[in-house]
């Protein structure tokens, strides 16, 4: 168990949002998921099936960085891993509580996060508005 905890620490550096597309491999390993990748017009979607039953999608510009993540399913994914350097932004904003435990809305110029749902049915997403590939609609990110 001690070795496991130690092993987790360096992998936290392999975060996804805002990181190169290659970092998704780190997510996959850390989250113990299986992956399916599809190409859309100007980005790739990497769909990670998590052991919890939740699906985590990571949106990466071709040859570029992950600009959005989205999830849906019975559990919220490991957001420290998936949000990477934006995890602290999320936690700080969540502590300044708005609304209810069923919804979260964080809207900053460079980071947007929406999360909703109830026990056994969660969905949400986070994206970097300034990093969206040209022609990409926010509605596609789900």
């Amino acid at each position: 168990v001690g070795a496991l905890l130690v092993a987790l620490v360096p992998r936290l550096a392999c975060a996804a949002l805002g990181e190169p597309e290659s970092s998704i491999a780190g997510d996959l390993q850390h989250l113990k998921g299986s992956i399916k990748s599809t190409v859309r017009s100007n980005y790739r979607v990497h769909e990670i099936q998590l052991p919890s039953g939740t699906v985590l999608r990571e949106f990466a510009a071709v040859g570029g960085n992950v600009f959005a993540i989205a999830w849906s399913g019975p559990a919220i994914p490991d957001l420290r891993q998936a949000l990477g350097r934006y995890f602290d932004v999320y936690v700080t904003a969540a502590q300044a509580k708005q609304g209810t435990r069923r919804h979260l809305l964080i809207e900053q110029s460079e980071f947007v996060m929406q999360s909703s749902g109830h026990m056994r049915a969660f969905s949400g997403r986070a994206y970097l508005p300034q990093a969206l590939p040209p022609g990409t609609s926010v509605d596609e990110l789900r």
Partner: protein, 420 residues
């Protein structure tokens, strides 16, 4: 069968304090009834919308509470009655804040013999704490030796990284807005088969359940269905197929407090018979479909634990004041209709109204009941972004809402379904 008389007496103390809170809040100018008389049928417990346990300066809004008695399993004397337990049809099982629990409850063990501890996920954070067994009494209904969660226990103060990775800790009454939560939604367990042992997949990294040593070294674990935190209703000796929430209607802008009833059982007694209600069957996540503004929102749900009506409408003005961020602030009352569709292809059209959240709160500072309070999941700049319509507590005002639990057969259908 144990003697329940002392627990009934304890329950009456709880009801008495609820009534006092109601009158103290000045609810609707109703006459004061100093001594509660136990005239209710045995399957009814009083519920109230009020300012909550954090007082008028940190008041809850549209938050429904009841009183629950917990006992050491088998004991009729080692019991504690706790008020301001939130009534939540959007979760499953009883959770108590360790800071209000004076009773010493025996913790349960994971399959490896270490302590079973849970990371309960909410959208904006998590609640960490051990699972313990308690006899639960709500009104006069009892369930024996039920797994419950004790949130914020000092016994397992170290939160595993994988749990804290889901957000910020919610383990105090201040953060929770309640002394605990009574989850009475459509499912039996708080996690279900995704956390249970399986011969085909490894469910140990389910994110909910951990086995922890005394030194708080924790690893993910599977938990048999009947050892997970359980919705107590199916474990009641009678009236165990579901529940009905009955709340009076409220005209906008609202009122200071509201009292109603939580009736246990569906079609088990004369006071809980199914009638002409519309039945909406729900899917494996507990959701149905809402059609609103030409959007088909397949992850929609009824939830007494949400304090407003939440949906996305890019044309509706959001509040500019940061204190009301995420709520709608239209210039005047806005009427809408939406259609709710069950997985059984039954549908019903629902009218609702949205008022300016800031005006509601500012003009009515003592109101805790605001039926036209509504908010958004996303932003005004992006339409059609969520797949969800969350019908919160305002939906429940002025009607009887049935919640039929999975695998339970009522006179008219089999759960999971909601009906109204």
């Amino acid at each position: 069968m144990r003697n329940v008389a002392p627990m009934v007496a304890a329950g009456l103390i709880g009801l008495s304090s609820l009534a006092f809170v109601s009158c103290g809040g000045g609810g609707g100018g109703a006459s004061v009834v100093p001594t509660p008389v136990p005239t209710n049928p045995s399957n009814v417990v009083s519920v109230i919308v009020d300012a909550g346990p954090n007082g008028p300066n940190n008041s809850s809004v549209n938050t429904l509470y009841t009183t629950v008695t917990v006992c050491v399993p088998g004991s009729t004397t080692s019991c504690q009655t706790i008020d301001h337990i939130q009534v939540d049809t959007g979760s499953y099982g009883l959770r108590l804040l360790a800071s209000v629990l004076t009773l010493s409850l025996q913790g349960t063990m994971a399959s490896n013999g270490n302590s079973l501890v849970e990371c309960t996920q909410f959208v904006d954070g998590y609640s960490w704490g051990p699972i313990a067994l308690a006899d639960i009494q709500v009104g006069e209904e009892t369930a024996a030796s039920v797994p419950v969660q004790v949130i914020g226990s000092s016994t397992f103060a170290t939160v595993p990284a994988n749990c804290s990775a889901t957000g910020t800790a919610e383990d105090t009454v201040a953060a929770f807005g309640a002394n605990g939560i009574l989850g009475i939604g459509v499912f039996e367990q708080d996690c279900g088969s995704g956390c249970a042992p399986s011969t085909t997949v490894d469910n140990s990294a389910n994110g909910f359940y951990y086995s922890c040593t005394a030194a708080s070294v924790c690893v993910g674990t599977t938990v048999a269905l009947n050892s997970q935190v359980l919705n107590p209703i199916p474990l009641f000796t009678t009236d165990n197929d579901g529940s009905i929430l009955v709340l009076p209607s409220v005209t906008a802008p609202g009122t200071t407090t509201l009292t109603g009833s939580l009736i246990f059982g569906i079609d088990t007694q004369s006071n809980n018979a199914s009638g002409s209600e519309t039945i909406l069957a729900v899917d494996g996540l507990g959701d149905f479909t809402t059609v609103f503004n030409s959007q088909t929102l397949t992850q929609s749900f009824l939830d007494s634990g949400t304090n407003g009506t939440f949906f996305d409408d890019a044309a509706l003005t959001l509040c500019a004041d940061p204190n009301f961020k995420g709520f709608y602030c239209p210039a005047g009352s806005q009427p809408f209709t939406a259609t709710l569709m069950g997985t059984n292809n039954t549908s019903i059209t629902e009218p609702f109204t949205v008022d300016n959240a800031q005006t509601l709160a500012t003009n009515n500072p003592t109101f805790t009941v605001l039926p036209t309070l509504a908010g958004t999941f996303s932003t005004a700049s992006s339409s059609n972004t969520s797949n969800t319509f969350d019908w919160g507590l305002p939906f429940y005002y002025g009607r009887r809402v049935f919640t039929a639990i999975e695998n339970q057969r009522t006179a008219v259908d089999t759960g999971p379904y909601v009906a109204f």
